[in-house]
Every structure is written in C-alpha cells, then in structure tokens.
Amino acid sequence: MKSFEEISELLKNNFSDIQFEFHPEAKFEPYILVPANKIDTVCLFLRDNNDLYFDSLINLSAVDDFNGNKIKDPQGNEIMQGGTMSIYYHLESIKFRHKLLVKVIVDRDNPSVNSVTSIWNCANWHEREAFDLFGINFNNHPDLRRILMPYDWEFGHPLKKDYQNPEFYQGMRVPY
C-alpha cells in the first residue's frame, strides 16, 4: 500500500515533461492536479504500472466552480462568462488497497477534455452524464449523447448554476 508522497514521486519521475501540482495539505483528501490534455496518458500509466495498479475507477464528478464574471444577457437574466469547471477522478487499487484523487480544470465557456473510456469502461456513462448536465465535451468518447434528459432537450445543460427553466416543453407547462 503506497502513501500519497510515494505515488507523487513515481509520477514525477515518469513524466518529467508534465507540470503536475501536488496538494497533500488539502484538509480531507489530498489530490493531484493534472493538465487537461494529458489526463489519458497519466491514467494509462496509473492503471498499468505494476507498483500502482489502479484497476478501478470509483467515481467521476464534474463541478461548476462559478468563479467568472456575472453579466446580464439580452433577456435580462444573469449569466456568467469566463471561469472554470473542475472534474474529479477517484481511483482505487483493489490489489494494493490504496486510493487517489486526480483533479482536472477546464474552461467554463468551451469545456473539453480527453475521455478515459478506453482505459476504464466504467467511465462511459459517467462522462455521458457530465456532458448532459454540464456540457463538457469528451474527445474520443464512443457514444457521446444525452443520457438523463430527453434527447431533444434544447434548453441547455441543467446543472450549471446560471441555468434558466423553459416555460413549455412539447405542450406541457414546466414551472409549478
């Protein structure tokens, strides 16, 4: 079972060209910040290395950080421009019993990151859900379409903080 410092050392030695950021001081869970375009190479290494062997992806969550500029759009509603969104990957190794949290930061206006479905099949529906509710594009995903909302929902991505509800959907009134 490896500790956070040993895992960080292994990553630093193997990927000298990638700029990681290590946060062992984070209060409840230490995490590693990885640049968005390198996440699939790092994850492949984490899964196949014989000392680390992270064979299971427990959870993939997207969070809207809501830290841009608040402006008013033509209809008078308050929307946000700029800012970031974060994606958190929880990894675990069943053989060695260690866990790791990896974080990726993307832009809020046009979020896009590489998919890890080819590494862990578990990520398939998690990434579809992140696309459906936040609008994050996953490159190289085998089948990226909406999963929870109706397939013809054209009013945006609901879990963003500045989402507005439509009045009617196919003849049914949506608000109370």
Partner: protein, 166 residues
C-alpha cells in the same frame, strides 16, 4: 353472498335497473394496469401482497393496458415519461378510470419548486378521478381511494357522458 344471497331461494328472478346492474359489475372487478413508477409502486405491491390483499376487491394486475379498466399512476411523472403515460391512457378502452397515488403525481410532490424535469401533477396530461395523498400513502389509504372510486362508479349514469380529455 350479499346481493344474491336470498334471491334464489324463493324464485330465480332479480329485479333491478340496467344502470345499477352495469355499475355493480364494473366496480366489482376493476382490473388495473401494472404501472409503477417510483416509491409508491412498492406500497402498491405491498397492497397486492397477502397482508393488505387487493384481490378481495376484485382488482387483478394485468400487464397490458388494452385489457384493463383502471390505471393507478404511482410515483413521479417526469417530462420524458409524460408522453408515454398519455399514450398508455389512450390505449385503454372505455370505460376507464385513473387513480393518482402519492403526492408526486398529485401535484409534483417534494420536487415542486426546483425540479426542472418533473411534471407538476399527472392531471396536466390525463384526467384524474381520485387523488390519494401521502408520501408514500399507506396501503390502507390506497384501499380507501379504491373504495371512493367504487362509490363514484356506483352513482354513474350510462346515459350522461363523462368529461372528455382536455
């Protein structure tokens, strides 16, 4: 038993009006479509199990809407599901009745304020006869809802038409 008990010992003639006879036949064997959506469906299954038996009122679950009289909408109706509920209702033959069970299908339930994908009450797509409140309603509450529906059918008239679908 009851209505027919003493009639046949004297003579084999039963005198009643057609309305009473048809209404009695309809309310004593209401076959329901097995349509459980969410948590209220578990209470509906518990009502059909042996402790709070549904079968003694003549209610049998049927898998297809084309062979049933009553649809019990139990659980939250979402926008994606609402169009399918309407299609199921239209597939049922007349005379048909609707029981709305639980507070999610009455008025949207606990999701009324911030639910962006929840239909606030199934009566926005189909006409409802009886509303059973509760979250989830106890099996005894569902049985009372069924008895109220039976009372409504008992005083129905076969010459006057019910409200059409809006």
């Amino acid at each position: 038993m009851g209505l027919l008990d003493k009639e046949f010992s004297d003579n084999n003639i039963l005198i009643t009006t057609t309305e009473n006879l048809f209404n009695w036949a309809r309310l004593s064997s209401l076959w329901q479509v097995g349509f459980g959506l969410a948590c209220c469906a578990i209470e509906m299954m518990a009502t059909s199990a042996s402790h709070y038996d549904f079968d003694r009122f003549g209610v049998i679950p049927r898998p297809s809407p084309r062979q049933s009289d009553v649809i019990i909408v139990s659980g939250t109706v979402t926008l994606k599901m609402a169009l399918r509920v309407k299609r199921l209702y239209e597939q049922m033959p007349d005379p048909k009745y609707v029981i709305s069970m639980g507070s999610c299908s009455n008025c949207g339930g606990p999701y009324w304020e911030h639910g962006y994908h929840v239909l606030k009450g199934v009566d926005r797509v189909i006409p409802v006869d009886v509303y059973v409140p509760g979250c989830p309603p106890r099996p005894e509450a569902l049985l009372e809802g069924l008895l109220k529906l039976q009372e409504k059918i008992r005083y129905e008239s076969i010459t006057k038409k019910n409200n059409e679908i809006v």
